[in-house]
């Protein structure tokens, strides 16, 4: 059980690190998705530890939320690409200060 949690933790860290180091917005989005799914995995692990369906229910919620977030995110990314012709997050960082 702890091993599975550890796996979730590792996934989460991977996502976290790549959000921080990636410069392409799409990859950042994907990394965030990985983090979310890691959280989902952790929920399922927790749910199975306590033999409750709650963990899986939460996972479904996470799934939904991630989906909604991705659809908005993709639309935004399209828009950004349309305007800036790049997906580099540094290039898209016009507001400073």
């Amino acid at each position: 059980m702890e091993a599975a949690l550890l796996l979730a933790g590792v996934l989460f860290m991977l996502g976290l690190i790549s959000v921080l180091i990636r410069r392409n917005i799409i990859f950042m989005l994907i990394s965030v998705e990985i983090m979310l799914n890691a959280a989902g995995l952790a929920f399922i692990v927790a749910g199975s530890k306590w033999v409750q369906p709650d963990g899986q229910v939460m996972f479904i919620f996470i799934l939904t939320m991630a989906a909604a977030e991705v659809s908005v995110g993709l639309a935004l990314i399209l828009q950004i690409y349309h305007q800036l012709k790049t997906l580099d997050s540094d290039a898209a960082n016009l507001m400073k200060g």
Binding site: V51, P53, I60, L63, T64, A67, A68, S71, L74, A75
Partner: protein, 142 residues
């Protein structure tokens, strides 16, 4: 949802099966690589685009309609997840659950109606509009 039931079904056949399938595919690809002839044709290094010489990059931009489909899919497929979880337990939930899902469905339908009206479900050009425009164009000629 009963945890004990899962354990009754042996899972190893699935794994064995999967392993066999994977190796089979690997073998097929490997074999064809080993067995296949080698050689270079005159136009083999160019993309085949119906016999016409390829022009420009293939990384062309697409209609945002495709992204719209992706979004629609995401919305409705995720709704399916909820319906799935209801479907498996709907006998226990009874009419109460039915009401819940009915509300959920109503929301879905409202979303669908909205998208329909917004033109999110119109793929490709609207033939009637084009026809109307064409007719307008033609009119002065008569």
């Amino acid at each position: 949802m009963d945890a004990s039931e899962v354990n009754n079904v042996p899972l190893w056949p699935l794994l064995v099966y999967g392993a066999i399938v994977l190796s089979l595919v690997g073998v097929i690809l490997g074999l064809s690589y080993v067995l296949g002839q080698r050689g270079k044709g005159r136009a083999m290094t160019e993309p085949y685009e119906g016999g016409i010489v390829s022009e420009g990059s293939a990384r062309i931009r697409f209609s945002s309609q495709f992204y719209m489909v992706a979004m629609l899919f995401v919305i409705f497929d995720v709704e399916t997840v909820f319906i799935l979880s209801w479907a498996i337990a709907f006998r226990e939930l009874g009419w109460y659950g039915y009401a819940g899902v009915a509300i959920f469905m109503v929301m879905l339908v409202v979303v669908l109606v909205y998208e329909w009206r917004m033109g999110a479900l119109d793929f490709g050009p609207d033939g009637k509009k084009i026809l109307a425009a064409y007719k307008r164009m033609q009119k002065p000629a008569f």
